[in-house]
């Protein structure tokens, strides 16, 4: 601006220092003026909204803040409150173990808490790529360790289950050169055969020599938020890989594989989760050979996983479709085989595109785990509706209990959502 203007005799060489904006535009007042009171209509809306917010807070905040924390029944709460309308938080304090652990034996709470804490150690290297890759070894071992901590029994069962995985992996490595897909199928078959035929007798024999046992806890003793958490994490962790396989299968050029995937996805998406849960709780017993003891929790985990996997598959398919064809061709022209191309080029990009939808499904799945209360599992909602609300001490304390359950879910879901936004920002490499 200071050069090239020939009609002006004097040209300033130093820029003027910026002047402070007029008060009416600056700071809080300026912001209020431009955003909330820019016109009469806008000002009226602002005032109405403010009043509504005030009215809500005026009703809720004292109810929360004046709540009673120290009482052993709703009657005691009422006595202490003397007619004031306020919460009876004492129920949460008194029933805390039941809400969180159900009927899990109190002397073993430590095991469940340890499994919970270790989950974050196991997740850390998956969620934050900056951490040492060696930590992934712990992630791989975690499911077996967590199973042992929560359900107890001899350590040899999870160890043998792990050996089954190793057997599958060895089979895979031996056949990988020939065909990746064939090797995967063979590995899966080998692992299944090992689990079904050898796990139980081997574990029993080894336990005879060296027990390494924790007190066993039955699935029906597990309850409260712990159920939601176990179902949610295992459902999410299992449905993502299954969903990826289904999405790839749906794109397959092999008609049989494609058809199986399409039918599975469309069928599961067309059925409400609660139906699948009923199937898990009652119907499966008809199909299983009599005498098989197939844990209800396991059945529910399978159903929840299948349900979420169908949705995951569709979310990932969207990501796959969004990839330009040139990416596949570039991978082909470099000589990468199908699985290398998928793993190294296609899926990293497709999954990145699908993160928002995957997170949506994960959060939905986590909240839907409360549906198991309908098939009489005592998750946090089942606990509240059943034993707690029907007890004589805490009859009718709905708001406090359901509010507490809501806050619990909110904390985890909000955490997942924040993480996914962070991840999306971190992975944004293409348009910088």
């Amino acid at each position: 601006m200071s050069q090239g203007d020939h009609s002006v005799a004097f040209v300033r060489h130093d820029p003027l220092p910026p002047q402070a904006p007029p008060v009416s535009q600056a700071g809080v007042i300026g912001w209020l003026r431009t955003n909330l009171f820019s016109s009469i209509g806008n000002s009226i809306m602002t005032l109405i909204t403010l009043y509504v917010i005030y009215a809500l807070l005026a009703a809720i905040v004292p109810w929360i803040a004046n709540g009673v924390w120290d009482a052993s029944s709703i009657r005691e709460c009422r006595e202490q409150l003397q007619g004031v309308n306020a919460a009876c938080w004492a129920v949460i304090e008194e029933r805390w173990p039941q809400l969180v652990f159900g009927n899990y034996p109190p002397e073993h709470y430590g095991r469940a808490v340890l499994a919970f804490v270790l989950l974050f150690v196991a997740l850390a290297p998956v969620l934050y790529f900056g951490l040492p890759r060696k930590m992934l070894w712990f992630t791989g071992l975690y499911p077996f360790l967590a199973y042992w901590l929560i359900w107890g029994g001899t350590l040899w069962i999870p160890i043998m289950a792990l050996v089954g995985v190793v057997v599958g992996f060895v089979v895979f490595r031996l056949l990988e050169e020939k065909s990746f897909f064939g090797a995967m199928v063979a590995a899966l078959a080998a692992a299944l055969a090992f689990w079904i035929v050898l796990t139980a007798p081997l574990a029993e024999a080894l336990a005879g020599v060296l027990p390494l046992a924790l007190t066993p806890v039955a699935s029906r003793e597990i309850g409260g938020f712990m159920i939601n958490f176990i179902l949610g994490t295992s459902g999410i962790a299992l449905s993502l890989p299954l969903g990826i396989m289904l999405a790839l299968g749906r794109q397959s050029t092999l008609p049989i594989i494609k058809m199986i995937c399409v039918i599975f996805i469309e069928f599961v998406r067309g059925v409400p989760l609660i139906t699948l849960l009923f199937v898990a709780s009652v119907m499966l017993a008809y199909f299983l050979p009599p005498g098989t003891n197939f844990d209800l929790m396991l059945r529910v985990i399978i159903m929840v996983t299948l349900f979420a996997a169908a949705y995951m598959a569709e979310a990932i398919r969207g990501g796959l479709a969004a990839l330009p064809k040139g990416q596949y061709e570039a991978g082909d022209s470099l000589g990468l085989d199908y699985w290398q191309k998928m793993r190294l080029i296609v899926l990293p990009q497709a999954l990145k595109i699908s993160i928002p939808s995957i997170v949506n499904i994960a959060i939905g799945l986590f909240k839907d785990t409360t549906l198991v209360s309908i098939i009489s599992m005592f998750d946090v909602i089942g606990m509240i509706r059943g034993p707690i609300l029907s007890s004589t001490e805490w009859f009718g304390v709905y708001w406090e209990l359901l509010g507490f359950a809501g806050v619990l879910f909110f904390v985890f879901c909000y955490g997942i959502s924040q993480y996914s936004q962070w991840l999306e920002r971190k992975l944004a490499t293409d348009h910088r």
Partner: protein, 263 residues
Amino acid sequence: MSQPIDAAPAVPSHLEVSDEVAIEISGMNKWYGQFHVLRDIDLTVYRGERIVICGPSGSGKSTLIRCINALEEHQAGKITVDGTLLSSDLKNIDKIRSEVGMCFQHFNLFPHLTILENCTLAPIWVRKTPKREAEATAMHFLEKVKIPDQANKYPGQLSGGQQQRVAIARSLCMKPKIMLFDEPTSALDPEMIKEVLDTMIELAEDGMTMLCVTHEMGFARQVANRVIFMDAGQIVEQNEPEPFFNNPKSERTKLFLSQILGH
């Protein structure tokens, strides 16, 4: 771009063509459904040849070179690349693809990987080269295409010309015996075309066997030892650049050249 060489021999004498066959295509036909894209293609490419393929849009140039590394399937005839017969056997296809490099019109770099990772991916996974060694090779070729300083950036941060040079380096990292180019400069702004062509010229001087679909006739004159004209799925005419440009035999070639060289 490059000055037309009229009197001098079109092929620089130091660029020797051996009599060893690199690609042999005979009686090749391809259909897209009912549409007959390639008709009776016969083509023998010798090691060290630099062939430019031109022709009107839709004449099947891309399809032809994409058949050579099996990005497209042909329905009749034989294609032999570096002694390996191209069949539906996946092993053969993967072998041929790792010997044949390809550059695309739209670069097709992997946006989620850095430039260096783009270059080391295939050597590490296909050739099983140790990472260190693959990175050293990658840096060597990035220096060759004159962008070693961009190694840790992502493709999205580079200009089109730089991206295409990375794509060339990425292919070279596989140490291919043959390079295919499908209109490598036609998605570029004019000021970037030269840097890519210069890279390709250097590659030719190193003795690479090259098949280029391009309309850069200056490049064809300077580098090619043979120019092929395609129309309607057929090879209509092929010749050394000088007689090809100065003395085209077929009417279709004349028409095409008059359109592309302008007035």
